[in-house]
């Protein structure tokens, strides 16, 4: 039993979860603060007969995992700020060609080289809007290492269910913090395996013709069905087309398969929300400081609550609206100039009641920082 309890970094928890989820191919390039993921993968994957490769850059890394996914493997890469920027074209390709894969971005301070060793949460908008054109993406985060484990497994399940890239949007504090993680027994968490086509050899296979439920069964490269995969707009055979009707249908499908399943994809946690007058909304490492403030203030009789978002994209607008309906004030705690705060304002009935509680200097936000801003919001002065 004790073998299943580990005291590990978030980055390591992510690796163990990926292996638990069925990953057996990883390609990556070293970059702070995600490097430990590559290092642990290099140790762990060959131990289970899997493959690890250090590519020449992040562009090549995402390309390699897409290639390996097509042969039927569960795949992942991990990076941080600058590397995530380099991956954007490949990410768009995986969206367009509907290739299941998981991309970890352990966020650091930006823009540009920014603060490599410090924490930031400035890539939330990039996760959805970083690649060109219209598409929907799934981005998931976590505030502790047990949740890193659970959300990583969830990411692989979502990637396989919807044939989509999934972004794990962690941050430097989560990636480097050591914490207890209980590795679940096999079977304790449900794993989604790839949906393979039942079409027989010699029968025309349409790799890009969605079933009625929107899902597309796949056939592995090397198998009996030979088909084309392209980043160009394509028809049901995967062959390039400019036909307006087909292009329209493809774009709708790519967006709808995510946006019509917000409820199934969304994960969140709530603390003391039932009677909360002041709701804190947060995600990732900053939710820890927010929770500390909530627990402390509750002891003094103040009606604070915390809504911790674990799914950032597709943004759970209905959930936020519902949970914040009774709140007099809403404070969004994040380490950027205000990214999720805009989404929360769009979600709620009274956007003028939504305030940003942030730091942008590479320093992790403390409960004191949050409390100081709350005093201003509540009209108690500095």
């Amino acid at each position: 039993m004790s073998e299943n309890i580990k005291f590990i970094q978030g980055n390591e928890a992510c690796v163990e979860a990926a292996l638990y989820g069925g990953l057996d191919f990883y390609a990556g390039y070293p970059i702070t603060p995600s490097t430990e993921i590559a290092e642990h993968m290099a140790v762990r994957l060959p131990q289970i007969g899997g493959k690890f490769i250090q590519m020449e850059d992040e562009i090549a890394s995402i390309a390699a995992i897409i290639g390996a996914s097509l042969t039927g493997h569960k795949v992942m890469t991990a990076t941080s700020g600058p590397g995530f920027s380099l991956m954007q074209e490949g990410l768009g390709y995986a969206v367009m060609a509907e290739i299941p894969c998981v991309i970890v971005n352990v966020q650091r301070g930006g823009p540009s080289t920014g603060l490599p060793t410090n924490v930031g949460q400035g890539d939330v908008m990039q996760a959805q809007w970083g690649s060109h054109g219209d598409y929907s993406i799934v981005a998931i985060t976590a505030s502790n290492n047990q949740d890193v484990f659970n959300m990583t497994v969830h990411a692989f399940n979502i990637a396989e269910t919807y044939r989509t890239p999934v972004i794990l949007l962690f941050d430097e504090v989560i990636g480097h913090m050591r914490e207890r993680v209980d590795i679940p027994e096999k079977g304790e968490i449900n794993l989604v395996e790839r949906l393979k086509t039942q079409i027989k050899t010699g029968v025309d296979f349409h790799p890009y013709l969605p079933r009625e439920d929107g899902r597309l069964p796949m056939s592995d490269f090397g198998g009996v069905h030979r088909y084309n995969v392209t980043g160009l707009a394509h028809d049901m055979w995967g062959f390039p087309t400019n036909d307006p009707q087909i292009v329209h249908g493809l774009l709708r499908h790519l967006v709808d398969k995510i946006n019509n399943n917000v409820q199934e994809i969304t994960r969140y946690k709530e603390y003391c929300m039932d009677d909360a007058e002041l709701v804190l909304v947060s995600y990732g490492s900053t939710a820890r400081s927010a929770l500390h403030v909530v627990n402390n203030r509750r002891k003094r009789g103040e009606r604070l609550g915390l809504l911790e978002l674990q799914t950032l994209w597709p943004f759970p607008y209905s959930l936020v609206k519902e949970k914040c309906a009774k709140a007099s004030y809403i404070g969004v705690v994040e380490l950027n100039m205000g990214q999720v705060v805009q989404l929360v304002r769009n979600a709620v009935d009274k956007p003028e009641r939504v305030f940003l509680i942030n730091r942008i200097d590479g320093v992790f936000i403390s409960p004191t920082d949050i409390r100081n801003t709350l005093r201003v919001i509540q009209g108690k002065g500095m």
């Binding site: 060959p46 131990q47 390309a63 996914s69 030979r226 980043g231």
Partner: protein
């Protein structure tokens, strides 16, 4: 099987211009594959972006038409995850050596078992005739209206230096040699590079006043010579054709199997 059996005729006619050399490469590549008697299910063709990269759509293999310059990186993921598959990566000169130059030298350095076919027409055709890293000093292009001042790469020298273990060159005029070289390149265990000079009469030919497609192909006959020929000694400007490098070196996927053994992950 006939060459036609390797084609997806549903998707013809192809999109190349009249006189383009790429159709000749397609034909002779399929002839090479035919002689190797490989199963179509065992071949994966990965390409990037450009005129040459459209070749993957027309063949009845597992085909992966990717993003500009990255075909070898995608192919690396396919090959490493299923080493028993045969990987063929047709690329244009810009695709392979400008935007894809980094992936090219690293794939060569790893000696991963795949065949890179560089269809060198010395121009960006898809976008309308801009100079490529292989246009060469003195060439005309839509982005070099006053003459190109960029020096070009020598694909053979670059491949050798980067560590490719099979390096060859041919042209669309020398179709029998081309077929034979591609056949040997695919059979070679390691990273193979085949440069094929392929005419673009529409852009490179027109901008450089090289005449028709036939004129351009005839020029391949006149300006190239077998490796080490007497003609080369008399005229050093001639471009050599043939197999420059063919050597055995540890192959990447085979080496990784040893990594798995050392890690105790062998079945």
């Amino acid at each position: 099987m006939a060459v036609r059996d390797y084609i997806r005729d549903r998707f013809f006619p192809h999109m190349w211009c009249p006189g383009c050399g790429h159709g000749i490469v397609l034909n002779n590549m399929l002839r090479a594959i035919e002689t190797l008697e490989l199963s179509k299910n065992d071949i994966v063709m990965v390409s990037g972006i450009g005129c040459s990269s459209r070749i993957s759509g027309y063949v009845d293999f597992h085909t992966l038409h990717t993003i500009h310059g990255r075909a070898l990186a995608f192919a690396t993921g396919v090959k490493m995850s299923r080493p028993e598959l045969t990987l063929i990566v047709p690329m244009g000169d810009g695709d392979a050596l400008a935007i894809g130059g980094n992936h090219f030298i690293h794939a060569a350095r790893r000696n991963i078992d795949m065949t890179a076919i560089i269809m060198n027409n010395r121009i960006y055709g898809m976008t309308g005739g801009q100079y490529s890293p292989l246009s060469g000093y003195g060439a005309r292009a839509s982005t070099a209206p006053y003459m190109n001042i960029d020096q070009d790469f020598d694909v053979v020298q670059l491949s050798k230096a980067a560590g490719a273990t099979f390096v060859a060159r041919s042209t669309t005029y020398h179709v029998q040699q081309m077929t034979d070289i591609i056949r040997q390149a695919i059979s070679h265990k390691g990273f193979s590079v085949v440069e094929i000079l392929s005419q673009c009469p529409t852009y490179f030919g027109r901008q450089n006043k090289l005449g028709t497609a036939v004129d351009m192909m005839t020029r391949y006959k006149d300006t190239t010579t077998p490796i080490g020929s007497k003609a080369k000694k008399q005229n050093p400007d001639l471009i050599e054709r043939g197999i420059f490098v063919q050597k055995e070196m540890p192959e990447y996927c085979t080496e990784y199997e040893k990594v798995i053994e050392r890690a105790g992950g062998g079945a």
